[in-house]
Structures are given as C-alpha cells and as structure tokens.
C-alpha cells in the first residue's frame, strides 16, 4: 500500500486556553512571513466540532482543528510524497510537530498553547487506498509501529483504530506511556529509529 494524503493531529493540553480568533491572527502573521506559501485562512470556528481555523496551502494545510470536539493541530499533507511508507509517515509527523513547536513558541499566544505529545492521531485522507477496515490496519501496522517507534523511542506505546465505522477515514491513535513534549519528539525523529519496547496494538 502506497500511503499518501497522510494527516497527523496532535492535541492541545488545555482546550480554550486561547480563543480561535488568536489563531486567525497567528496564521495571518505566518502568511506575512511566508512569501506566497500559504494561500488563505478559512475560519470555521462557528461550527461545532469542526475543522476550526485552517491555513490553506498547496502542499499541506495546517489547521487548529476541533474535529471530534478535541482541539489540536492537524497537518494535512495533500501532495504526494516519495519514499517508503515509514519515511512518509516520519516526514508528516515531523512537519506536524514543527508546526506545533511554532505555535508553542508564538509570542502572540504567550506560551498558553501546549500540545500533548503522548498522543498522535494518524489519518489517511483517502478512502480508496485506505478504507477504514481491519485489513488496512493489518497492512499498515508495521509501518505505523515503525513511525511510533521513531516518535517515542524506547517508550511503550499502543496503536488503536479511532473508529470502526467503515464510512469514516482510516485513522489510528498512537498513545505512548510517559510524558513527552514536542521538542523531545522532534529530537527523536531527528535521531532516527531506536530500539524501544513495543507493545502490540490493542
């Protein structure tokens, strides 16, 4: 299975620490600094449990997303990636975390936004290549484990499907034991794979 359209979400520690409008302001500042990379901002804070505030670009959208009533940073890779699935997952995880770090460090947010780094949601935005089924899970489990391992080093982690509803997109939650922060995960990814203990997915 050639994984594309990989999405990754990291959840905020404290929802409501800042208002959604703060992200409109922040993303606007990112646009001003980016010289044409980002196309626009879409603000859907008025719908419940929705896509929140999106920063639209060609390669990937970045959003402060509230799907499932859980605010978090969603990195939505749209353009195809080269490499094997493990490499692609790592690239997307890294890009998502870099955006998380940028948010955590944004002076306009005064350090109020922190991400829970012990949990990551990996979602494949393509029902054709990755239907939400146990078969897809089996086919991707090794790649996901490798990615989780790269992310959490030697820590224990579990992989679980977010939902078994076949209408939904295939998504897997990676939950690690212990406390992590964004910087640590980025450092892990930069280090490459370690030899951590791995627990079978439940």
């Amino acid at each position: 299975m050639d994984l594309q359209k990989i999405n990754v979400k990291f959840f905020v520690e404290e929802p409501g620490a800042v208002s959604p409008e703060a992200f409109v302001l922040l993303f606007n500042a990112w646009i001003q600094a980016a010289d044409g990379e980002y196309y626009d901002i879409a603000d859907y804070a008025h719908v419940e449990a929705g896509p929140g505030i999106l920063l639209i670009a060609h390669e990937a959208n970045v959003a402060m997303d509230n799907t499932g009533n859980r605010w978090g940073l969603l990195y939505n890779r749209k353009q195809p990636l080269q490499g094997n699935n493990g490499e692609k997952l790592r690239r997307v995880l890294k890009a998502a975390l870099e955006n998380c770090r940028r948010i955590e460090e944004a002076s306009s947010l005064e350090g109020k936004v922190r991400f829970r780094a012990d949990e990551a949601l990996v979602l494949i935005n393509d029902r054709l290549s990755a239907p939400n089924s146990e078969a897809t899970f089996k086919a991707l489990k090794a790649d996901l484990e490798t990615a989780a391992h790269a992310l959490y080093g030697n820590a224990d982690f579990v992989l679980e499907r977010e939902s078994e509803d076949p209408r939904k997109r295939f998504s897997v939650r990676i939950k690690a034991a212990g406390r992590f922060n964004v910087a640590a995960l980025l450092a892990n990814l930069d280090k490459g794979t370690g030899n951590g203990n791995r627990r079978a997915a439940s």
């Binding site: 359209k5 409008e21 409109v24 302001l25 606007n28 646009i31 001003q32 010289d35 044409g36 990379e37 196309y39 626009d40 879409a42 603000d43 859907y44 008025h46 719908v47 419940e48 449990a49 929705g50 896509p51 999106l54 639209i56 060609h58 959208n61 799907t67 499932g68 749209k78 935005n125 393509d126 029902r127 054709l128 290549s129 209408r167 939904k168 997109r169």
Partner: protein, 766 residues
C-alpha cells in the same frame, strides 16, 4: 489522474452511463487544456458548466495586509481560464434540484468534503452545496463519486439553467395548492443539457412555489417562476401555474412580470423551452451586465416578449417529454418512515421548547412535522452531515431538503419523535433553535472566497448571529421574525434585497484609507415569494452594522403601530427619517484613533480592494460553434488514444466523427439548429462553406475541405485499414479542424457569421 481512474473503475456500475461519459469527456478536456490544445476561455466556460468555479486569489496573488504576495503555485503559467492559475484552489458547486437529498447522498457529500475540500459542505441561497479550496485535478473524481449517488454538478455555473429550486415544504405545506416537486424535477431534467439552453448570454434561474403568499419559492426574483394554481376548465379542475418571467436580483433588481395567469401544466415544459430559445436568440451576449433575461424583457416589453415566446412555442416540434412525466405527477408521494403520532405527553429535553417554537413546522398531514436543522452560515461539517444521515435514517428515511435560507429540513418526522430527534441533533451540534428568525442570518461567501467580494458578508453575519443569539430570549416577537441577509457586494447572492434588513458590501475611501462599509437596505419582503425589494438607506462602516440592527429594531419595537409590519413601519417613517436615525453611525474615526474600522470582520488584515478579481458568475460567453469545435478537438484526441492502443478502426472512425463535428460547428454559425445527422451536416457544409468558398484557404484552396469528403470515402471503402493510412487520416483530420478554427475566427472577425432564420445578431461571434 491515476487515482481518478481507480475511482472510475470502482464506480463504473454505479454511474448512469451518460453521466459517466460526460465526466470522461471533462477529464479529457482537462488533459487537453494542460497540453495547451484547448483555448482558456472555452475551457473556462466548459468547467463552469461542470460546476467548477473560480475562487478568490486564483489569479495567483493575495494581499497579506502589508503587501501583495505572489502565491507559490507550481503550475506556473498554466491557466484554467483568463487570469485563473491552474493550481489555485477553486470552488465546486453541486446542484441539488429542489434541494432534495437522501442519506446516501449526504454521506457521499461528507466524504468528499473531507477528502477534497475543507471538511465543510456549504448550503447556498439557491439550495446548492458548495465546496471550497478544491483542486481542479480532483474534480473528475469528485464528479464520479457524486454521480455514483445520483448527483451532478452539470450546469451548476456558467451561462445555463442553474439549479431549479422549490419550496422545501412542497408536498407537506398546509397552504400549498399542490406539490410542485414533480414539476420541479421534470423541469430540471428537461432543461439540463437541452440544446436550446446552451447558448445563453447569462445564467437563467428557475423556481417553483406551492403558493403565492409564503416566501419559500421566491419566484418573483427568478428568471422564470411558477406558482402552483388550479383553475376550472370545461367544468374540470385543472392544474397549472401562475407563471412569471424576468425577475432577478443583482445590481439592478427586477421583480418578475406576470407572463400568464394560468399556464396549464402540460404547457410548462414547452413554454420553458420556447423562452429558452427566445432568450438564446435575442438576449444580450456582449454586455454581461445587461445579459439576463430581465433586461431583454425590459427592452422588448412584456407584451412583445410574450408574443415572441408564443410564436416560438407554436413552431416547436412536439417532444414526448413535455407530457410523459404528467402521467405520474399525481402519484408522486413521499412515504414516511414512522406512523403518525402526536407529541402529547412525552418528556421534553432541556432546550426543546425553544427549538420547537422556531424549528418545527406542523405538516398538512396530521401527526407529522418538518424539523429545520439550523446551519450557522449554511455550513455543516463532514461529521455532522454523516450524523445527520444517520438521524434521517432513524427518523425520516430520505425526505430531506436544503433551503434557500441555508438550512436543511427533515420532513415527515412523526411528531412523537420530535424530542428524540432534537436530542440526536443536539448531540452532533445541530440543535440550535432560531431557524427563520432574525438570528438566522443568511450570507453569501463574500470576501471569504468570492472573487467579487468587497466586504466580509460572512464575517458580519457571524458577528450578528452571535450578538443576536445572546439576546434571542429577550427579543420582541415582532423583531424575532425579521430576516437579515448579507451580500459581500451588490450582486446580491446573499439576497439582501428581499430581507427586512439587508446589507451589501461596499468600499469608502476615507483619509486615504479604504474602509469596509455596508449599504443598509430596509423593508424588503421575504413573504409573498419575495414580494418587495428593500430601500437603500445609506452606507455605514462595517464595524457599526451591529449598532444599525439594534437601533432600527429598537425603534420598530417602540414606535410601531399595532401589528404594523416592518415594511409598513419603514415606509411610514420614510427614508429621510431612517437615514437621519443612522447618521451618527456613518462616521469613521481616524485610523490613529481606532484602526479596527479599517479592518473587516474576522479578517486581521488592513482592508483593501486589491484582492478583488474578475468574477466568473457571468461565465465566458462562448458560442455553441466554439463548444462544438472544442468537442471536435477532444474527439480527435480520443482518436489518437485509439490509434496509440492499436485500434485503427476505432481511431479512423473517431477522427472522421471529429471532422464532421468541426464542420457542424461552422454550419451552426449560420444554421443554429442544424441536425446531428451526418448526411445533413455534410450537405449543409458543402452548400454553405465549400460552394461559397468561405472555407477556402488563401494558399491551400479547397484542400482541407477535401480531406473531410475523402475521409468519408476512405471509411466507406476501407477494408483492413493500414497503420500509415490511419495515421494520415488522423493528420488530415487535425488539419481540417485547424482550418475550421481559422475559418471560424475569420468569420467572427468579419462578422460574417450572422445567423440565419432570425437568429441573434451576435450568436456566432467569437
């Protein structure tokens, strides 16, 4: 493309063959455009007619509040229309005739919004669904997945018949004359892709209403509006329509005029066809601003327009589709999922009563109700749409409709189920009350995504919604029922003219700064099928509009006479007094004092008009001849594909068909109605273009025309076509089509291509 082919394979058996073929053709057109083989204007109108619309910043630049940025769009110079960069995100409009949806369709819409858009389905003021931030390369796949659930995007945009709308209460309304739904369906199907609707200078909008007094159908603001009516003819009650033409909002709003006080049902489709023909023939083609049918009628006068239409009607060849559907019209019925039962007694969850008061309509059928799902700004998330599909399956099956007030209704809810329904809606964040009240503000996309937007209609609507919903419990009943509608510019997609309180975006330059403003319109009438248009009172800075709403409504509450309507109140106090009442709100503080006035709602950037683009609402005026020429190019492309695959027989036949199509394109410039019959096309082509030497090349003489006739002979004789022979025929076909293009351009330049038989003077222009 590879992925699209996979979906194509997967959905093959689920798409209607004609729909599947149309999408294949569109995919080929995309490919041709990428290869530079399809003119950008022709491609623009082609994609518009497939619902593939432009979006703000698709010219490749955006003002970031400090400077204009050139967007990094990898497609470089490739365009999908004039000043429209290929890779720039666009909008896809999805036609939902009469707003009718079923759960399977809702699920498909939810899925597609997630995979190709921003996880939001937006309900428009004409019962369509729109996706934003869509890449054009994804559109064939989107169309296939929609086609698999019986939805088309065809003719959702462009100079064609747009979505046919109808009252969302049709069939269950307590006041309707009869259910207009089957007529709306028949009209939509009949006009979709009809040859007589393909050569308009502008869009054409059709609406149906079950009664005259309620607002649901908004027939008087449509190009063609039909209100259900019965009459006793020869002692028998007959169905028909009070039939209107020439309405429309936009910068210059016109109320539709009565065409026929009773049009018998069997005349509905032929009359629509005759009107289409007259509009195509005589409607303005050059000046888009005057190209809607309302201007044609204003120019001709309704009497002359009626005479021309009836004359056209008399000439029409009978079409069995005019009447075929009538045999089943009276049997058209929706079936409820649950037995009728009253609401009495059951436990009512918290918030239910308020929701029930504004969002529930008691149906004509005892024990059943229509529940309105309030969508903020017409937006619904993918998760909510999927959840709503589940709710529909649980309570009503497939009796779901979108509304022109950007909501969704579930019809045939057993009244006893209402509390459980409310609870289920609440759980997916759709339990908001206030449907159809002052809180339920309607807005067009405005500067969020529309290229023509001047001010942020959605930003303002959001602000008004939030302020008004906080006060909704204390709002006076007379105020609660008022409607607010906001457009981002004068084009009125938000339907500001027909609101009690309407606004449209404008700009004012103050001390060297652009300042977002809204023009205040008061006293429009949503009732009586959009019975009156509001009065422009004056421009107020965007940031002061919430105060306008408060001031106007407060004064109405205080000073209205007993049961005086808002329209009557506004009329009574007069424009001068109303303007004076708002005078102080028109002031803009200096930039240094309050810079927030120089930014729009929900947008942190300093306000500017730099981002306004060229709108695509009007589409490109592309003649039928140009479309046919483009189709011949596509056909030749397919011939090449057959050739490459080694199917020589199919290759030469397809190449020949492409040549015939190119010849037909030229004939169309003189004989609009030319048949598709090959022999007739060849005869007409010979008579009009060869014998007259119009098709002669300056240097090659009649050589290119000879290729066509020679190809026909080759096909007739050919036994076992050889590869080099086939290749030659393909090459000659290309030369013939190129020559047809040159001839068309020459004729356009010379304005020789004047139509025969009373056709419009500019029908063949390029």
């Amino acid at each position: 493309m590879a992925q699209s082919l996979d979906w194509k394979e997967k959905l093959k058996s689920r798409m209607a063959p004609d729909l599947a073929r149309e999408i294949d053709i569109f995919e080929t057109q995309i490919e041709l455009r990428k290869q530079g083989k399809l003119d950008e204007r022709v491609f623009a109108e082609t994609r518009l007619r497939r619902g593939v619309y432009g979006q703000r910043y698709d010219n490749g630049q955006r003002h970031d509040g400090q400077k204009v940025q050139k967007l990094k769009l990898p497609s470089g110079g490739l365009t999908k229309g004039p000043e429209t960069v290929w890779d720039a995100p666009g909008m896809l409009r999805i036609k939902i005739p009469f707003g009718g949806l079923n759960p399977e369709q809702m699920e498909a819409l939810a899925d597609l919004s997630e995979e190709y858009s921003d996880a939001i389905s937006h309900v428009t003021t004409r019962q369509d669904i729109q996706y934003h931030f869509v890449h054009i390369d994804d559109t064939p796949t989107l169309m296939r997945r929609l086609a698999a659930v019986g939805i088309t995007t065809r003719e959702a945009c462009g100079n064609v018949v747009r979505n046919v709308t109808a009252c969302p209460l049709a069939g269950v309304c307590r006041d309707e004359t009869f259910d207009v739904t089957p007529y709306a369906i028949a009209c939509s199907n009949f006009l979709l892709g009809h040859p007589d609707t393909q050569d308009f200078g502008r869009k054409f909008k059709v609406a149906f209403s079950g009664c005259k007094q309620h607002p649901c159908g908004l027939t008087t603001m449509h190009d063609m509006g039909a209100i259900a009516k019965t009459a006793v003819v020869d002692g028998q009650e007959r169905r028909g329509f009070e039939f209107y033409v020439g309405g429309g909002l936009g910068a210059v709003p016109y109320k539709a005029q009565l065409f026929e006080s009773f049009l018998p049902e069997e005349e509905l489709l032929p009359l629509a066809q005759a009107i289409s023909r007259v509009f195509a023939r005589l409607g303005e083609k050059r000046n888009r601003a005057r190209a809607r049918v309302k201007f044609l009628i204003a120019n001709l006068g309704i009497e002359e327009f009626r005479r021309l239409v009836l004359e056209e009607r008399a000439k029409l060849e009978p079409d069995p589709r005019w009447r075929d559907y009538l045999s089943t019209v009276r049997q058209y019925r929706e079936t409820p999922l649950k037995p009728a039962a009253s609401l009495n007694g059951g436990e009512r969850p918290r918030g239910f009563d308020a929701w029930h008061a504004t969002n529930v309509y008691r149906q004509r059928q005892p024990g059943y109700a229509v529940a309105t799902v309030t969508l903020p700004l017409g937006d619904i998330t993918a998760g909510q749409l999927r959840g709503l599909a589940d709710i529909a399956r649980r309570f009503v099956k497939d009796t779901i409709r979108t509304t022109v007030e950007q909501n969704i209704v579930l019809r045939w809810v057993s009244e006893a189920d209402l509390p459980a329904l409310y609870e289920a809606l609440r759980q997916i964040g759709l339990g908001e009350a206030n449907a159809g009240t002052i809180v339920d503000v309607t807005a067009c996309p405005g500067t969020d995504t529309c290229k023509l937007g001047i001010a942020s209609s959605r930003g303002l609507a959001k602000e008004l919604r939030s302020r008004l919903s906080e006060k909704s419990f204390e709002l006076d009943a007379a105020v609660k029922d008022l409607r607010i509608k906001v457009s981002g510019c004068f084009n009125s997609c938000g339907q500001h003219h027909i609101a009690d309180i309407g606004f449209y975006g404008i700009n004012r330059n103050i001390n060297g700064y652009a300042v977002p403003h809204f023009q205040v319109m008061l006293g429009g009438k949503f009732n009586d099928n959009a019975g009156a248009y509001g009065l422009a009172i004056g421009a107020v800075p965007s940031k002061r509009i919430p105060e306008v709403v408060l001031r106007v409504t407060d004064r109405y509450i205080k000073e209205r006479k007993k049961s005086e309507s808002f329209q009557d109140f506004v009329g009574r106090i007069g424009k001068k007094e109303t303007k004076a009442m708002l005078e102080d709100l028109t002031q803009v503080p200096a930039h240094a004092v309050d810079a927030s006035f120089y930014r729009d709602w929900g947008d942190p950037r300093e306000f500017t008009l730099t981002d306004m683009g060229v709108g695509e609402c009007a589409g490109e005026v592309v003649s039928q001849a140009q479309f046919t020429l483009a189709a011949s190019e596509r056909e030749l492309f397919e011939a090449q594909v057959y050739f490459d695959a080694g199917d020589l027989r199919k290759a030469v036949m397809t190449a020949y068909a492409a040549m015939v199509q190119a010849a037909q394109a030229l004939v169309k410039t003189q004989l609009y109605d030319v048949s598709n019959d090959e022999a007739i096309v060849l005869t007409e082509f010979r008579k009009r273009f060869c014998d007259t030497e119009l098709f002669y090349d300056k240097y090659a003489g009649g050589k290119f025309a000879d290729y066509l006739f020679k190809a026909k002979e080759t096909l007739q004789q050919q036994n076992g076509m050889k590869q080099d022979g086939a290749l030659r025929l393909l090459q000659e076909a290309q030369l013939f089509i190129d020559a047809a293009h040159s001839c068309y351009n020459k004729l356009s330049a010379l304005r020789v291509a004047s139509p025969a038989g009373g056709q419009a003077a500019n029908q063949g222009e390029g």
